[in-house]
C-alpha cells in the first residue's frame, strides 16, 4: 500500500562507518548471493560474459575524493550505498500498485514483486539510487534489509542479521533498531555524529553514515620534541649514554 504508516514499531536499519570501510565490495557480492537465491526473483545479469554487461545489485560501493582546503592531502572515501529505509519514503508513495510498502512493525521498505508492474516510478523517486529494475523479471528490486534472514528461525540466532553486515570484513556495517535510543546502533550514531544523506530531500533516512574521523593530523613536531631529543650529538657521546643507560637497566 502506497501510504506510509504513521509510525513504525521499530526503525530497523544500517549504520555504515565511512571511517572504516575499505571499499572491498564484500557486502555487494554477499548481498547479490543471498538475494539471488532468496527473496523474490533472482538478481539477473545481462550480457554476463560479453560487452556492455550489467546486472541487478541491491548494494553498491562508490568512492569519493575529498580535497580539503589548503595544501592538505586529498582523501579517498569508500561509500557503500543501499536502501536507507526512509521514514518518509517517496518511493512508496509514488507507487501506483501498492507493490512498494513500508512495514509497520520494523519500517523495512519492501517491494511485493507479484504486484509490481515495473513502471520504475519508485526508482525515479528515490534520490539514492537504491532501486534497480530487474531486466529479466521486469520487477523492481531493492534492499530488503534481509527481512528473510533477520527473523529467520532456520538460521542460528547469531546469523539473524543482514548478509552484508555478517560478511563485512572490516566491521564497517552495523544493523539494529535506530528507533530505540538505547540500541548499540543508536549509541554509535550519537557518539560518532551519524549523519543523513541528502537531508534536504526530506526522506528522513533510517540508515545513518558515520563520518570519517579527521585525517592527517599527526601531532606536531614541537609537541613531541621531547620524544626525539638527542641523547648526544656525537656518536661517541651516544656510546657514553648507552653505557650509562645500560647500567640502570
Amino acid at each position: 500500500m502506497t501510504t506510509l504508516p504513521a509510525k513504525t514499531e521499530k526503525k530497523l536499519g544500517l549504520v555504515i562507518d565511512l571511517d572504516t570501510c575499505v571499499g572491498c565490495h564484500a557486502c555487494v557480492i554477499s548481498c547479490k548471493g543471498w538475494n539471488t537465491e532468496n527473496y523474490g526473483a533472482p538478481l539477473s545479469d545481462q550480457n554476463a560474459y560479453g560487452a556492455d554487461n550489467y546486472g541487478t545489485f541491491l548494494n553498491r560501493v562508490h568512492s569519493f575524493e575529498v580535497q580539503p582546503e589548503g595544501d592538505a592531502a586529498a582523501q579517498l572515501i569508500h561509500f557503500p550505498k543501499s536502501c536507507l529505509h526512509c521514514e518518509d519514503a517517496p518511493c512508496v508513495t509514488v507507487c501506483p500498485t501498492g507493490a512498494s510498502y513500508k512495514r509497520v512493525e520494523d519500517g523495512i521498505v519492501l517491494v511485493n514483486e507479484s504486484n509490481c508492474i515495473g513502471c520504475g516510478l519508485c526508482a525515479w523517486a528515490c534520490p539514492y539510487g537504491a532501486r534497480e529494475l530487474d531486466q529479466a523479471e521486469g520487477v523492481m528490486k531493492k534492499c530488503t534489509l534481509c527481512v528473510d534472514r533477520i527473523y529467520n528461525e532456520n538460521l542460528p540466532e547469531e546469523d539473524r542479521q543482514p548478509a552484508c553486515v555478517r560478511t563485512c570484513p572490516a566491521g564497517a556495517r552495523h544493523f539494529g533498531d535506530l528507533g530505540d535510543e538505547n540500541s548499540d546502533v543508536s549509541k554509535l550514531v550519537a557518539e560518532r555524529g551519524g549523519m543523513d544523506l541528502m537531508p534536504e530531500q526530506g526522506t528522513k533516512p533510517v540508515n545513518k553514515y558515520l563520518p570519517p574521523r579527521p585525517k592527517d593530523e599527526m601531532p606536531e613536531f614541537d609537541v613531541l620534541a621531547p620524544f626525539l631529543q638527542p641523547v648526544a650529538e656525537e656518536p661517541k657521546g651516544f656510546l657514553g649514554w648507552l653505557d650509562k643507560t645500560l647500567e640502570k637497566l
Binding site: 557480492i29 554477499s30 560474459y49 582523501q75 570484513p169 593530523e217 620534541a225
Partner: protein, 937 residues
C-alpha cells in the same frame, strides 16, 4: 494496515558443507549451502580461525566461479600451432600416457631437463615432494616473483615474516603502520584487524604512493615516492637511535646487537660474528666483563663493551649500527626530498612511534621463562606494530628495505611482544632451521634433498662443479645468492636462451605465464612459440594444468584440466603455508562438496597417478602398485617424519592426538565434522616472546613444529650476507665472477642500507613510476570469468595524479601513450588527487586476451583493459657493458615489478587499448548471454 504476508523464515538450504575458500590464498572457512545437491549460497564460517565468519567479495562470488563457462572440460592435446588455441579433446589415459612418454626419458637420462614450476600453489609440500622424487632440481612455486624479499628478509632477520606468516597484535596495538600494501594474502584478517583497531581508536599510518583501500582509512597517509621506503625507515631509525628511543633491554637480550663482530681487516673472517668452539655467538657479559656465549644462563649481554685482542678492537653489532645510522646521511633533512616527505613529518612519525612504544607501554600478567632460564613475572608490551608487503619488496632494493623495516621493529622492541607484531606457527623459526637448497641429481633417482631453502654462505649456492648454475632459474647463484623461493619469472626466458642449459619439458601448474604473471608478456609469447632451425619449438614440450580457459592454455601442448576448489581434496598444511594464528596452530582441508560434472581430475590426484605410472619412489608401493589412490589418500596416509603428516589434527588411531601421532584413517571425516579445519591453541603465557619462551618452544616440539627447542637471536646483522661479501672481496675458494664482485660488495651489506635503481631504469628520461594494485574484489586473472565480479572491474583505467593530468592536458576519459624503456601502451586515463605526484597506477591483471576465459571477443577486459606487464622486462635496459642485468633484487632475485619507470603523453583515442593481440580460439566456447541464477525455487 493490510501488508502482504511474507515468509520470514524460509528454508535456507538442505545442507551446509564446510570447506575452505580458494578464491585467493587467504584460505577462509566457508559454509557452502546446498540445495538439491547444488551450490546455492556461500558464506563465511563463523568458527573458522582465519575469517571468523566474514567473507570477501571473491569468496561470496565462488558460486559464479565453480559454474563459470570457462571451466576446462577434458584433457586437451594441441593440434594447431602453439598459441592458436586449436586443441583436440582426449581421454585421461592418453593424456597421462603422453605425459609419461615425455617425462620418463628425461628422468632416466637427465632429470634437469624437466622444469616443474607451480604458480600460486597451495600444495607446495606435495608438489615439491613429487619433483624431488622425480629428481629434477628445477622446482619452485611463484614466490620469487611475488614477494620473496619480504619472506627472506623476515626469516633471515627475525625468523619469521609478514605475508600471512605473522600478524599485528590487533587486540593491543595502538599504532599500526602499513607500508606498501593494497590487499595482501591475509586479506580478511587485515581488514578485520583494521576494523578492530579503528573501533578502539588506535592510529593507522599508511605509507603508500596511492591512497586507496587500507590507505584510505588510515588516519595519516604518507604518499611516499616509490622505491624510497628504505631511506625513510633508516631516517626514522636515525632519529630514534639518536634520541635513545630504543629498547635496550630487548636489544641486549634477544638480538645479535651485543654480539661481537670480528675486526680483522683484509682477512677472511673480517666482519663475521665472533663464536666459541661450539659455534655460539659471543657477547661481553656486563656482569663479568668477560667474553661469554650469548645463551649462557644469567648472562647480561653488553651492547656497549668492546673486546680487545691481538691489538684489534672487536665491537658489538650495535656499535656498528650506531656508527652507521647516526650519520647525517640518514637525517630526515637529508632524505626528505628523495622520499617526497617533509623532514618535519618524518620526525613527527618517528616521535609518535617513540611515544607510543615507550609511553604507552603496558604489561600483561603472564609469567614466562626465557631460554637462558631466567623467569619473568610480566610481559612488557610495546603497542606499535607494522605490516608490509609487495610495495616495499617488489623493488630491486626490496630485500634491504624489508630488512630495514624489521630492524626498526626490533629497535623498538616490538616483535613478539604484546601490542606488537607476532609470528604464527610454524614461525618463529630461524633461517638456520630451514633446509638449504639441494641440487644433487642422479638420473632415475630422487634429488638429494629439498629444492628450496636458505643459503648461509657461498658453500650453499646451487652451482655445478664447473661453477655454472645448477638450476634453470639460476636461483642460489652469485646473481642472487639468497633466492629462497626460486625465480619463476626467469624460467621461460632462461629455457628459451638455453642459459644455463636447455630443457625438454616445461611443466606448469596454475600460472598464467603467457599473460599477467610474466614480465614482458609479448616477449614470453614469442619465446613460447619460437622454433629452432629444425622447425622444432625452442622449448620443446609444455604440459600445463589449469582449471579454466586462461591465456596460458593456448601455449601448451598438453592440458591436464583441474577441478575447481569445491570439487577436490586439498590440504592447507603446517608443512607449507598453514592457516595458523599468532595464538594457535591451525590447518585445514578442502573436500569435494560437489562432484565435477566434467571429465577433469584434481591436479594432485593426477600427480599421484602419474607418479605411480612412472614408478616414482614415494608414489608406488613395494610391489610397484600405486601408493596413493588420490590426493585425499595421500593427505591422510603420507608421513613426512614418523607421526608427522600433511595434517596435524586428529592424528592417532582414535584421532585424539594433535601434531604428532599415527595415521588416522578417519582423519578427513574428522576434519569435515569439525568444519574443515583444526586448531590447537598455544597455552596462554606461551603466546608472546615465542622465539625465547621455553614454554612455547616445548609446546612447538610437542606438536611437531620442530624436533628440539630452537631459541635464537634476532639478526640485526645478517652474517651470511657478510660471507658473500667476503667471497666478493676474494676470500674462500668459491668465487663470484668478476663482473658481479662490486655489486655483491655494494648490495650485500649485513646491516640494512638503501640504494636506488632509478638510474638502471633510466629515470632521467622516464621520470614517472607506474604501479599496479590488487583490486580487493578480483584475484589476478581469475575474476574476469566471474559474471558478478567482472561487473565491478571490467576494465582498468590508468590513474594519473592531478599534476600529470594538467601537464599533459588530459581530462577524464582521454587516452595516453605510456612509454617505458622497454615498450609502449596506449590506454584510457582518469584523474586521482590522492596520489603521489610522480606516480601513475592501475588495477592489476584486469586486461584480458581476446578469446580467453570464455568471454566474448568484444568484452571490455580485452578492448579497454590493459596490462602494465607489456612495459616491464625481466632484464634491465642495456647498460652498455655488454651484459644484460636482471630486473630483480640482486640478493634474492625478487622481480622488481615496481621499479617500472615511464613517461606519458596524450594520444588520440585508438579503437582499443594498445598493444592489441590477435584473438585465440577458445577451447570452451563462450558463456551464455544472460543469467538469473537461482538453484532452489
Amino acid at each position: 494496515m493490510n501488508q502482504p504476508v511474507i515468509d520470514l523464515s524460509p528454508k535456507v538450504s538442505d545442507e551446509v558443507r564446510k570447506t575452505t575458500c580458494y578464491m585467493c590464498a587467504c584460505r577462509c572457512g566457508i559454509n557452502v549451502h546446498m540445495k538439491d545437491g547444488k551450490v546455492a549460497y556461500i558464506e563465511g564460517n563463523k568458527d573458522h580461525p582465519v575469517n571468523q565468519g566474514v567473507l570477501c567479495a571473491k569468496g561470496s562470488a565462488g558460486i559464479m566461479q565453480v559454474n563459470a563457462p570457462s571451466r576446462l572440460r577434458k584433457p586437451l592435446k594441441r593440434v594447431g600451432e602453439r598459441g592458436s588455441g586449436e586443441f583436440e579433446e582426449i581421454e585421461w589415459d592418453e593424456a597421462l600416457q603422453i605425459a609419461a612418454d615425455w617425462l620418463e626419458p628425461v628422468r632416466a637420462e637427465n632429470p634437469e631437463k624437466l622444469a616443474f614450476f607451480t604458480g600460486r600453489d597451495q600444495s607446495q609440500s606435495f608438489t615439491s615432494f613429487w619433483a624431488q622424487n622425480f629428481g629434477t632440481p628445477n622446482y619452485a612455486a611463484h614466490g620469487g616473483f611475488c614477494s620473496v624479499n619480504m619472506a627472506a628478509a623476515g626469516i633471515y632477520t627475525m625468523g619469521g615474516a609478514f605475508w600471512e606468516f605473522g600478524q599485528p597484535d590487533w587486540d593491543h596495538t595502538k599504532l599500526f603502520m602499513l607500508f606498501g600494501v593494497a590487499e595482501d594474502h591475509d586479506s580478511n584478517p587485515i581488514k578485520m584487524g583494521l576494523g578492530k583497531i579503528k573501533k578502539r581508536g588506535a592510529r593507522v599510518i599508511g605509507v603508500n604512493p596511492i591512497r586507496t583501500g587500507y590507505n584510505a582509512v588510515a588516519d595519516d597517509w604518507v604518499g611516499i615516492t616509490p622505491g624510497t621506503d628504505g631511506l625513510f625507515i633508516l631516517a626514522m631509525i636515525h632519529c630514534l637511535m639518536k634520541a635513545g628511543k630504543i629498547d635496550l633491554h630487548y636489544l641486549a637480550q634477544y638480538t645479535n646487537a651485543p654480539v661481537l663482530v670480528i675486526n680483522n681487516p683484509g682477512q677472511a673472517d673480517h666482519g663475521l660474528l665472533m663464536r666459541d668452539e661450539n659455534g655460539k655467538e659471543l657477547v661481553i657479559d656486563r656482569a663479568t666483563g668477560k667474553l661469554t656465549p650469548f645463551d649462557k644462563p644469567g648472562v647480561k649481554p653488553d651492547l656497549a663493551a668492546t673486546y680487545e685482542k691481538d691489538g684489534q678492537t672487536h665491537r658489538p653489532v650495535f656499535h656498528q649500527m650506531a656508527e652507521m645510522y647516526l650519520d647525517d646521511q640518514y637525517a630526515p633533512e637529508a632524505v626528505a626530498d628523495r622520499c617526497g616527505i617533509p623532514a618535519k613529518r618524518i620526525r613527527a612519525i618517528a616521535a609518535e612511534l617513540a611515544r607510543v612504544a615507550f609511553e604507552e607501554s603496558f604489561t600483561l600478567d603472564h609469567t614466562w621463562t626465557d631460554f637462558r632460564g631466567e623467569k619473568h613475572e610480566k610481559m612488557v608490551g610495546r603497542p606499535v606494530s607494522f605490516h608490509s608487503m609487495r610495495g616495499i619488496s617488489a623493488h630491486a632494493n626490496g630485500f634491504q628495505t624489508c630488512r630495514a623495516l624489521h630492524v626498526l621493529q626490533i629497535l623498538l622492541g616490538t616483535v613478539e611482544v604484546p601490542g606488537g607484531f607476532r609470528f604464527k606457527p610454524p614461525y618463529p623459526k630461524p633461517a638456520t632451521a630451514h633446509p638449504k637448497p639441494h641440487v644433487g641429481l642422479t638420473p632415475g633417482a630422487p634429488l638429494n634433498g629439498p629444492h628450496l631453502g636458505f643459503t648461509h654462505g657461498p658453500e650453499d649456492l646451487a652451482l655445478k662443479d664447473d661453477g655454472t648454475p645448477a638450476r634453470i632459474d639460476k636461483a642460489f647463484t652469485w646473481e642472487n645468492p639468497m633466492s629462497s623461493h626460486g625465480l619463476m619469472h626467469m624460467v621461460i626466458s632462461n629455457a628459451y636462451a638455453g642459459d644455463p642449459y636447455k630443457i625438454d619439458v616445461l611443466f606448469m601448474y596454475m600460472a598464467n605465464m603467457s599473460w599477467n604473471s610474466s614480465m614482458n608478456t609479448r616477449g614470453v609469447i614469442d619465446m613460447l612459440t619460437d622454433k629452432d632451425e629444425n622447425g622444432e619449438y625452442v622449448i620443446p614440450k609444455i604440459i600445463y594444468s589449469d582449471a579454466y580457459s586462461s591465456e596460458m592454455v593456448a601455449y601448451s601442448d598438453l592440458i591436464l584440466p583441474d577441478t575447481t576448489y569445491l570439487e577436490r581434496h586439498d590440504c592447507i598444511s603446517l608443512l607449507d603455508r598453514p592457516i595458523c594464528e599468532a595464538d594457535a596452530a591451525a590447518d585445514a582441508i578442502r573436500w569435494p562438496v560437489i562432484e565435477p560434472d566434467r571429465d577433469v581430475k584434481g591436479f594432485q590426484s593426477m600427480l599421484c597417478e602419474l607418479g605411480a605410472k612412472m614408478n616414482l619412489p614415494g608414489f608406488v608401493n613395494d610391489d610397484g602398485s600405486q601408493k596413493y589412490a588420490d590426493y585425499g589418500d595421500y593427505i591422510v596416509n603420507h608421513e613426512r617424519r614418523p607421526g608427522i603428516g600433511p595434517l596435524a589434527g586428529f592424528r592417532g588411531e582414535n584421532g585424539d592426538q594433535a601434531g604428532r601421532g599415527a595415521v588416522n584413517p578417519n582423519q578427513l571425516d574428522r576434519y569435515i565434522e569439525n568444519g574443515g579445519f583444526f586448531v590447537e591453541h598455544i597455552p596462554a603465557g606461551s603466546n608472546y616472546y615465542k622465539p625465547w619462551n621455553m614454554e612455547y618452544q616445548d609446546w612447538a616440539v610437542n606438536i611437531g613444529l620442530y624436533d628440539k627447542p630452537t631459541p635464537y637471536l634476532f639478526s640485526l646483522y645478517v652474517e651470511p650476507m657478510r660471507k658473500f661479501q667476503l667471497a666478493a672481496e676474494g676470500h674462500g675458494d668459491r668465487q663470484p665472477p668478476d663482473h658481479l664482485r662490486e655489486r655483491i660488495k655494494d648490495t650485500m651489506s649485513p646491516l640494512p642500507i638503501w640504494y636506488s635503481s632509478e638510474e638502471d631504469n633510466h629515470a632521467d628520461q622516464y621520470p614517472i613510476t607506474a604501479l599496479t594494485q590488487r583490486p580487493m574484489a578480483m584475484y589476478h586473472s581469475w575474476g574476469s570469468q566471474n559474471a558478478w565480479l567482472r561487473q565491478l572491474h571490467g576494465h582498468n583505467p590508468l590513474y594519473l595524479p592531478t599534476k600529470l593530468m594538467r601537464e599533459n592536458n588530459l581530462s577524464d576519459g582521454d587516452w595516453a601513450k605510456v612509454t617505458s624503456p622497454h615498450g609502449e601502451i596506449t590506454v584510457p586515463v582518469l584523474e586521482m588527487a590522492a596520489l603521489n605526484e610522480n606516480t601513475v597506477w592501475t588495477w592489476n591483471a584486469i586486461g584480458k586476451r581476446k578469446g580467453a576465459w570464455a568471454l566474448e571477443e568484444d568484452a571490455p577486459e580485452a578492448t579497454r583493459g590493459f596490462l602494465l606487464n607489456h612495459l616491464i622486462h625481466e632484464l634491465l635496459p642495456p647498460k652498455g657493458d655488454g651484459l644484460r642485468w636482471a630486473n630483480s633484487d640482486p640478493i634474492t632475485g625478487q622481480a622488481a615489478w615496481f621499479d617500472l619507470k615511464v613517461r606519458i603523453e596524450k594520444a588520440a583515442a585508438p579503437d582499443e587499448s594498445q598493444p592489441g593481440f590477435a584473438s585465440i580460439k577458445s577451447p570452451v566456447g563462450t558463456g551464455p548471454k544472460d543469467l538469473a541464477w537461482k538453484v532452489g525455487n
